[in-house]
Symmetry: C2
Subunit: 348 residues, 2 copies
Amino acid sequence: MKHVDTEQRCKRILYAIVESYVDSAMPVGSRALSQRFRWSMSPATIRNVMADLEEMGLITHPHTSAGRVPTDKGYRVYVGSLLEPRHLTKEEESLISKVVSRRYEDFEGLMQNVSRAIGMITNEVGIVLTPRLKRTVFKQIEFIPMDSSSSRVLAVLVTGSGIVRNSLLELEEDLTKAELFRMSEFLNQELEGLFLGDIKNHLTRRLLQERDSFYAFLKKAISIFSRPGFLRAEDKMYFDGTAGLMSHPEFDDMKRARSFLKLFEEKQDILDVFNEDMEAEGVKVHIGKENACKHIQDFAVVTCNYKVKDRAIGALGAIGPTRMEYGKVISAVTYLSELLGKALEDLG
Amino acid sequence: MKHVDTEQRCKRILYAIVESYVDSAMPVGSRALSQRFRWSMSPATIRNVMADLEEMGLITHPHTSAGRVPTDKGYRVYVGSLLEPRHLTKEEESLISKVVSRRYEDFEGLMQNVSRAIGMITNEVGIVLTPRLKRTVFKQIEFIPMDSSSSRVLAVLVTGSGIVRNSLLELEEDLTKAELFRMSEFLNQELEGLFLGDIKNHLTRRLLQERDSFYAFLKKAISIFSRPGFLRAEDKMYFDGTAGLMSHPEFDDMKRARSFLKLFEEKQDILDVFNEDMEAEGVKVHIGKENACKHIQDFAVVTCNYKVKDRAIGALGAIGPTRMEYGKVISAVTYLSELLGKALEDLG
DNA sequence: GATTAGCACTCTAACATCTAGAGTGCTACT
DNA sequence: AGTAGCACTCTAGATGTTAGAGTGCTAATC
């Protein structure tokens, strides 16, 4: 008997529906699909399969006589088990290397350009989060007194990834210039190569072994690193491609366009998704209702962390309508996370 | 005879047309206007005046039987001679002080919040340019060697407005730590209070008076300030309110929305307008075709410079459809330019 | 039993037609 | 000069119609 594996066929058809819908944004009918398979199945057969898929909740009807559209769950299956991995084409890679010059001038520019590259390749909005300070390694710290009394001091912190962070300290206890100098010398020697997130613990452990005058000195050091906002608050997010996204037909409805743009003004919702994903390995995809935040539930988010010296220190990705070219987006995000990691390593 | 000054009447009617159209986005008819004037003029009279205004090029018809709409020129007359200055309401001021806390934490946040405040008050996109470095005064410079050989040095420049600018220098000539220290000491004493833009000239003048070993030293100092990108390239632009803007009916056409968003991705066109206006005094308004850049010709831009110690150092403003509440926008932009100036002075 | 052809049915998008109403410009009257 | 009246124009919205794409079901076929 010529009995084809029905499960196999279901998959092929779901695959075709997603691809076709992603491509054209039009509901997919049985006839068109049959053509796509070079008439190896009749429209009627396909209709039967479609009815099954609908039963399973993988596709829907907008209305009785329209074609089928994938549901969030449908996309999920597509991404999870149907989509074969692909790589970027040579053209895409060369486009990226044109936008993200290996020889970056400044840190901000690098972030901006990576987000732009993602946006350009995927036609969705590209997003890059700055490295979490706590996950980068300490390299150097210097104190610059801003007035004669040394009560206002500018701390300049340099990390292994070449990030430079300024922080204005208003010190209650007066420190003489000499003391400040001693402080930086001590810290630079003591903390070399430590992760910024581990510094406070390290110093506290050190404290337990010491006493006398050095004890007070260490206390001061710890208080500096304990200042609120000294290591935090650098959750900066770069994004690019909002204009390009407006060409998608899903934004013909202004209300959606507006709520989408609002995401980028409030930022927090997006940051939450990326921060959460930073822990896990590799590419993560959140489709529609899978998102915890309800403002994002109309959209899909693809994220990936990027690493320096095998340690995940930040995240990047893309966001757009659930109807997106997942294959392309995933490969772009993967590629650029590696690129960014390497770029930051060079800088270190 | 009861003959009213016709010029006066023209003005009143143009004024009413603009106000009404700005408010409702609907072409204004003679009947509605007559009502607005409590029937002190008949629709027919108003029609005659309207015909005159159209002759003068201040208003137009979208089509034969539609009401009138102001032209760019009409808005220009309205802004130039009809609009009486207004101030922000108490509510608006308190909204601003909620968004822009007088006690800002960081420079970036201040910029971001000012642009947000403009956006929220005006319902257009608020824009703030960072202070031009060259126009701020020198306060302090320090050099931090990044490796033992001192060939890579991080220069930290602090200005009078509290801006801190980092710049990684790759020095060809090796400078010993001692030399670097001498250099910063010398510069800090020599340049105190100078505008950054004047530094190179100042040092060069100084050079002519000196000779011997100090000559070479000065040469090195000059070369540092001559590095491309050391004082430039900080043309950063903050903006906020793109989401709010999408509620304007003029963006129902996605193509316009897209071209508008593109302005903020390319940035340069907007920067040009603001940079140009920074020289002139007070608020500047560019309406539609008045803009040199053709991508902006569908929109209106309101700009104002902001000052620290009576010197214009940066610019801020708003951008939106030509149909905007010019009175409100102008007062918001004025108010916030003063606020920002003061905030930066406090920081200095 | 799996697949397909055929058919009746449904729904939408696109087009054409019509109408009410708002607005105009002109002319003649006050 | 200002106004009322009137014929005319144009659009937005309502209504009606149709072609086409798509479905689901049943019966025939492999």
